[in-house]
């Protein structure tokens, strides 16, 4: 008992005496809506980072470098975007405003994402942290898969009953020849408006693309701070996949961003400088698609054919049982 008390006293004194490190930085991350409610290609999530000093006060001056990596492949089934699995989705640097950095992002696939955050302060302090979080698949998709699986099973079931006693018939097999489609090539392109330039590298699913925005005065010796709003919209799905609103940038902004679907996207950038009218740049790009790898297809098709085979066996068993009962 005495030993326990003395140990507790020592621990209490240690906690009181050892001061918090002056250069310690705390990094907090949250999403809106909560991570549990995030679903792939549903609605964009607002990602928020908060950096505080050892006393819990938001950092007044500093920047964060963000690297977002997609979930690695590993399960039996592939996701619907196999080329995205395990790749870099986003890499950018944002200035902190009252210790915060916010952006919107639309998660493309289910699984565990990794967000690496590196904080740098004006006085040279650095801190890094990695956050991992899981985005669950949309329940509607599981429901659709269950219905489709049931349909395949019953298709096999009916065939199993028919084949067990039906007379021989003629089976016509239609062979479908598959033709490979070419992927669309997209070249480097840039959109120059009166006072700003928005440049996007060749966009291809599975690898990040450089998105670069430049304000008209950025080559001046002392570039002024500009507030940038940048949005990337998936045109087919009519969903915003990325957005930052009025973030302070030093005349230009660059990030690596992966366009996760082979589709068309609209990029809209608005630069605001004190004392002048906002300058809007808009650009539509087409991300090149890649055909899914064969190894990603095999599990799904093996599962579907396996279900039909199970249905065949069940149908045969059902038919034979009925026949035996009838004969009895």
């Amino acid at each position: 008992m005495i030993r326990i008390i003395s140990l507790a006293s020592f621990t209490a004194v240690f906690l009181l005496v050892v001061p918090a490190r002056a250069d310690e930085l705390n990094i907090y991350f949250k999403t809106t809506p909560n991570i549990e409610r995030l679903r792939p290609y549903a609605d964009p999530a607002t990602m928020s980072l908060l950096v505080t000093d050892a006393n819990g006060r938001p950092l007044t001056d500093g920047s964060v470098t963000i690297r977002l990596n997609a979930p690695r492949s590993g399960g039996f089934f592939s996701t619907d975007f196999p080329w995205v699995e395990g790749t870099r989705l986003q890499e950018m640097q944002l200035d902190l405003r009252r210790g915060r950095a916010n952006w919107k992002y639309l998660f493309p696939i289910r699984g565990q994402y990794r967000l690496a955050v590196n904080v740098s302060t004006a006085d040279g302090r650095k801190e890094s942290k990695q956050f991992t979080f899981n985005v669950r698949e949309n329940e509607k998709k599981w429901g659709t898969l269950a219905a489709f699986s049931t349909g395949l099973f019953f298709l096999g079931f009916i065939a199993g009953r028919v084949f067990t006693s039906a007379p021989k018939g003629i089976v016509i097999i239609v062979f479908a020849l598959l033709a490979a489609s070419g992927t669309r090539a997209d070249n480097n392109s840039s959109e120059n408006d009166a006072g700003a330039a928005l440049e996007v590298g060749p966009a291809r699913v599975g690898q990040p693309t450089l998105v670069h925005w430049r304000f008209k005065n950025h080559i001046d010796p002392a570039p002024s701070r500009v507030l940038l709003s940048l949005a990337i919209v998936h045109l087919e799905k009519a969903k915003t996949v990325f957005e930052v609103e009025r973030i302070p940038v030093p005349g230009e902004f660059a990030m690596n961003f992966q366009f996760t679907d082979g589709a068309e996207y609209r990029l809209v950038a608005i630069g605001e400088e004190a004392g002048s009218t906002p300058i809007r740049s808009e650009k539509i790009i087409s991300a090149s698609a890649l055909e899914p790898p064969t190894k990603a297809m095999i599990p799904a098709f093996a599962y579907f054919i396996g279900l039909i085979a199970l249905g065949l066996i069940a149908g045969r068993w059902s038919k034979r049982r009925d026949t035996v009962k009838r004969e009895e």
Binding site: F81, A159, F301
Partner: protein, 72 residues
Amino acid sequence: MIKLIREGNSVERIINAWLNLVVSEQASFFIKSGIFLFVCGATLFFALGASYPAVHDTLHNVRHALAVVPCH
């Protein structure tokens, strides 16, 4: 019903004799099931795995809706 089954068996016997094929009912089931599975597999692959634009574009949303079928 018994009559129908007998008729069905008679028809099957006639066709077997005509095709000069004599296989057991079990073997017949497996042959038919194999062909059926092949046709189903080819159809599924054509519908959900083909890159042919007309088919792909028509069934693009179905692929994504199934969650486990890869797309681009």
